[in-house]
């Protein structure tokens, strides 16, 4: 049973009661410089929430479990055996906090979080790519490694123009083919945590958005066009550009619309014609921000009055010095990233929280509604406010959350515990939520655990200079490209959801048969084990071979019982030779423990 199938009513009643004092604490600080939220403040909120709910927090995770978790969450990959070994024998104070800072500074931070946000923005990508996904991904990764303020990143994604080979940030508009309605739905979902697509075709009785609201929001993208600007290496290069705004006079606007309609009538392809008509319609619509929710835990009453003026406000703010009018996309980006936007900061911190803790404070993370329930509402508001007021510092957000007590709790439950108790603990983060790795985490961790990543990197480094490559030998770049392809292919096998552009937020432990077969029998696994550095290094060790197999693959030392059992296994199957070590490694690599974040 999945967590969000549970009744939320119980949680709601508890948390409405405790939310008020916290919300008040963050509401008014009399114009003083905002204090930065730290892990201790978050711990206090969790403690109070757990007490109120009658939950007992799990015991802390041990160092090895914590390090593996931190590494997967912050860097997207399990730690190396050396790192685990050094960390568990380090007895200095505050080593976990230091480790968080170290991990945040690694290039793997941007690679992992860039991957996550790329997936949210443009999906994993079906087989046939219409745009340069790699170029876009690299750009996103760079933004996270440079720690570009998240509001700037958001603006860049939404407002980028130009050729894809000059400005890879246009990838988002390119991926969605500059389709206003697709872009409206996706933008609301990713940056605002609301599902407005349902209102795309008509009004629904049970949905909170009206079709007119959807269209007015989509109008922000109505002036944006995509055209083929040329070719490079036989692949088309696209360019994103905004057309000038039609003059505001009613008659002129009507004429522009009429011209588009005339063109649409002449189009031979009814689909293209329909799109042109839609765009014509949206051209004359007035781009309008989404209204805040009127009720429920996400309602922000003080913003309601602001809504009607927000458009003018943003214009006034940003056009003070220049006489240039903002494009519709710029107006949208300005509204989204404006402090006090009822959705943006909450949605971004909530999506980030979910990727670190297994669930969001609101679930699903991309469907905020009037009847949403919030676990620890005060925390959501505090995180959002802190994010807004301290420069949308993404690295700080992730680091602060990683340093909390909740992030350090064990994931194991009491053996006698009932399923309901487990779920209530997990839903309130009184225990760390065990969940499967993402396909990307899985692939990268397999290469790390087997040590095949080192072999690939070494080869790539040696062959970096194409001049030195012997005839028929591959260059480093070629190897990197091939590695990327192998990774994509393997990841696709691990993707359990629909193989297209939607990425599901569901946590499901059920793998598929092909995945199990791949893990047990594939050449990828067999070769990684026999050629990777792990088994080779283990063979060079003395009487602690078993420990190093465990450290390399499960990122922990074996218990004495496991050591004895593994030893018996090795003895029974021919002693400590390469083959039997591989058998042990195989079993650890295929275990439920390996494939989960815990």
């Amino acid at each position: 049973m999945k967590l969000h199938q549970l009744s939320n009513v119980r949680f709601l009643t508890i948390f409405v009661a405790i939310a008020a004092p916290f919300a008040a604490a963050f509401q008014d600080n009399g114009g003083a410089a905002p204090t930065k939220l730290d892990a201790a403040a978050i711990d206090a909120m969790f403690d109070q929430a757990w007490t109120a709910a009658g939950l007992k927090a799990a015991s802390p995770a041990d160092d090895a479990e914590w390090l593996r978790r931190a590494s997967l969450v912050l860097n997207g990959v399990t730690p190396t055996a050396d790192e685990v070994s050094a960390f568990i024998s380090d007895h200095s104070q505050g080593k976990r906090g230091k480790k968080v800072d170290e991990m945040i500074a690694r290039a793997e931070f941007g690679e992992h979080w860039g991957d996550e946000w790329t997936r949210m923005l443009v999906g994993r990508g079906a087989r046939m790519q219409r745009f340069d996904r790699n170029g876009f991904t690299e750009w996103v990764e760079e933004q996270f490694n440079k720690n570009v303020p998240f509001n700037e990143f958001t603006k860049n994604v939404l407002t980028a123009s130009g050729r894809a080979d000059d400005n890879p940030a246009v990838g988002y508009i390119e991926k969605w083919q500059a389709e206003p309605k697709d872009l409206a739905g996706q933008t609301a979902k990713v940056f605002l945590g609301v599902q407005i697509q349902c209102a795309r075709c008509h009004d629904h009785k049970d949905q909170q958005w009206k079709q007119s609201e959807f269209n007015d929001f989509a109008a922000y993208f109505a002036m944006t066009n995509l055209r083929r600007a040329g070719d490079a290496d036989g692949k088309p290069i696209f360019e994103v550009r905004d057309q000038p705004e039609p003059k505001r006079g009613k008659a002129v606007g009507k004429i522009a619309k009429k011209a588009l309609e005339e063109r649409a009538k002449k189009a031979k392809n009814p689909e293209a014609a329909q799109k042109m008509m839609e765009k014509a319609e949206l051209t004359s619509a007035t781009p309008t921000p989404l209204r805040p929710l009127a009720e429920g835990p996400l309602a922000m009453p003080n913003i309601t009055e602001e809504r009607n003026h927000s458009q003018d406000d943003t214009k006034a703010d940003d056009t003070k010095d220049t006489q240039v009018e903002m494009s519709r996309r710029e107006q949208l980006a300005a509204w989204i990233t404006k402090q006090g936007n009822p959705y943006y900061a909450r949605s971004v911190v909530n999506s980030t929280f979910a990727r670190m803790f297994g669930y969001g404070l609101i679930n699903p993370t991309d469907d905020f509604r009037s009847d949403s329930t919030v676990a620890v509402p005060a925390l959501l508001d505090a995180l959002a406010k802190d994010f807004e007021q301290n420069g949308y510092d993404y690295k700080r957000l992730v680091a602060t959350l990683a340093k909390t007590k909740a992030f350090s709790l064990a994931s194991a439950g009491d053996a006698k515990e009932k399923e309901e108790a487990r779920e209530s603990h997990e839903k309130m983060f009184a225990r760390y939520v065990m969940r499967p790795m993402s396909p990307e985490q899985m692939f990268d961790s397999i290469t790390r655990a087997t040590g095949i990543d080192e072999v690939a990197e070494e080869r790539a480094k040696k062959l970096k200079n194409p001049g030195k490559a012997k005839k028929g030998q591959m260059t480093g770049e070629k190897i990197a490209e091939m590695y990327g392809k192998v990774r994509q292919g393997a990841i696709r096998k691990f993707v359990t959801t629909f193989e297209d552009d939607e990425s599901s937020e569901d946590i499901s432990f059920e793998g598929t048969i092909p995945q199990a077969l791949l893990m047990m029998n594939s050449r990828m696994i067999t070769d990684s084990m026999s050629r990777g550095m792990t088994v080779q290094r283990v063979m060079e060790r003395g009487n602690d071979k078993i420990d190093w197999v465990y450290l390399s693959i499960l990122s922990r030392k074996p218990t004495s019982d496991e050591r004895a059992k593994s030893s018996a296994f090795l003895q029974k199957n021919g002693g400590e030779k390469k083959e039997t070590i591989e058998d042990l490694a195989w079993a650890l690599l295929n275990s439920a423990e390996f494939s989960t974040i815990h």
């Binding site: 199938q5 065990m434 359990t496 793998g511 594939s522 058998d583 275990s591």
Partner: protein
């Protein structure tokens, strides 16, 4: 409640809320009920069920031949030679009087007595991804829900969890996934019917004994981890490994090897991958697989429509007709439903590049077996092929009806996360006369 001629005819008024009245109405059969539904709107669930039971549930297995890219109805099963939109192909007679199909389906023409052609398919999804999603799940894409593929629904409803092979196999890609039923109902995907199954054989150098030792160790590890963590993660992990293990060892694995078929019967399906996929589909349903999905890609003919469609028609003609013949001669056609369609149709008007573009407004689907009435055409399009003239059939209509053919109540509610959802979109109405 408004005046209702059908109830009037029964001599009872709907205000009496008489359950009997509804049942009587349902007893009149599908056609009346659909007329009724058109007249007054929604019918309560219990009367829907009463109706659905009117369809004799004979189907037990399904083969879905997916024409990826979307073929034109005018170039395939709804020819209009003589009209400018009709294109270059002629129509030919079939074994059933009065039903004509494209001249490039000579073999299928002989099987017409077992086929139903629906010429009035219609949808609103003119984009490949959205159309593909619709024809595979029965729902238009909705952001927050992953619907289940029809094969996954069949796997969930009819599949035997103790069976060695996966209940749902997809050949050549294109199908959707288990959605809210979970990935254990996702298709087992085979890229090429002619390639050996991936990763079912033990790696080189690993003997059976060694594998069993590894498995034993793995089981111990997982059991311990499960006890230690009391987590929901472990049991499904073990289950999927058990199923993978069972598949690796199953004698039924031979069904995946089409080379076991003699050359003559192999050739009858055609030497292309689609033909091989049809052969594989037959071999799999024969041993008990519930649903096989086979893709024939290439129908997205924005340019040079006619040479391309001629070629594809030949491939489809051989593969599908031989599949039907083989199923029939093995006594399997009576309970194996064969569905053949794309994600939408193509524009009746031919574009400047000799191609046809996306057109969801009218298209055709072909069905056979599993209790489907043969030798008939349902619905029709206007002379220019632009509109459905009568009996429009949507994908939810079709799937609700096919569900009834399998004895599945498609109005049952499942949960996708917190959202209640019926197996097939509630808008679906029974298509009258599809089943015998």
């Amino acid at each position: 409640m408004s005046y209702n001629p059908f109830l009037e005819a029964l001599g009872e008024s709907i205000d009496q809320s008489s359950r009997r009245a509804f049942l009587k109405l349902a007893a009149l059969g599908g056609t009346t009920a659909v007329l009724y539904e058109n007249a007054v709107g929604a019918i309560p669930t219990w009367i829907r069920q009463a109706q659905d039971t009117k369809v004799a549930a004979k189907a037990k297995r399904c083969v879905f031949l997916y024409l990826q890219g979307g073929p034109s109805h005018l170039d395939t099963f709804d020819p209009k030679p003589g009209h400018p939109n009709g294109g270059e192909f002629k129509a030919m007679d079939t074994s059933v009087d009065g039903i004509r199909i494209s001249e490039h389906f000579p073999k299928l023409a002989k099987e017409m007595a077992d086929l139903t052609i629906i010429r009035s398919m219609t949808s609103k999804e003119g984009n490949h991804d959205r159309g593909r999603y619709l024809v595979h799940t029965g729902y238009a894409p909705q952001a927050a829900v992953q619907h289940a593929d029809i094969g996954s629904i069949l796997s969930h409803e009819l599949g035997n969890p103790q069976f060695d092979l996966p209940a749902f196999v997809s050949v050549g890609g294109g199908s959707s996934a288990g959605g809210y039923f979970g990935s254990q109902h996702s298709p087992f995907v085979i890229q090429r019917a002619s390639s050996p199954l991936e990763d079912v054989a033990l790696p080189t150098g690993v003997s059976k004994d060694r594998y069993e030792e590894r498995r034993k160790l793995l089981k111990e590890l997982d059991t311990k981890f499960g006890k230690k963590t009391n987590s929901a993660a472990v049991e499904p992990h073990e289950n999927i490994y058990k199923r993978a293990d069972r598949l690796m060892k199953s004698p039924l694995l031979a069904a995946f090897d089409i080379n076991k078929e003699d050359e003559k019967s192999r050739d009858a399906y055609g030497k292309d991958e689609f033909g091989k996929g049809c052969l594989l589909a037959r071999r799999l349903v024969e041993v008990g697989v519930t649903c096989v999905h086979v893709s024939l890609n290439g129908w997205d003919t924005h340019q040079n429509n006619f040479p391309q469609v001629e070629k594809l028609s030949g491939i489809l003609d051989s593969g599908m007709s031989q599949l039907i013949r083989d199923l029939r001669s093995r006594g399997l056609l009576k309970d194996t439903l064969v569905v053949c369609m794309g994600e939408f149709g193509r524009t009746p008007r031919i574009n400047g590049n000799g191609g046809r573009d996306h057109f969801p407004r009218t298209w055709s689907a072909v069905l056979a077996g599993g209790g489907v009435k043969g030798g008939q055409v349902i619905g029709s399009t206007t002379d220019d092929g632009m509109d459905v003239k009568d009996h429009p059939v949507t994908i939810p209509d079709l799937y609700r009806t096919l569900g009834a053919g399998f004895g599945i109540d498609t109005t049952q509610v499942n949960f996708a996360g917190p959202r209640p959802i019926t197996l097939v979109d509630k808008a679906g109405k029974l298509v009258p006369d599809l089943f015998a």
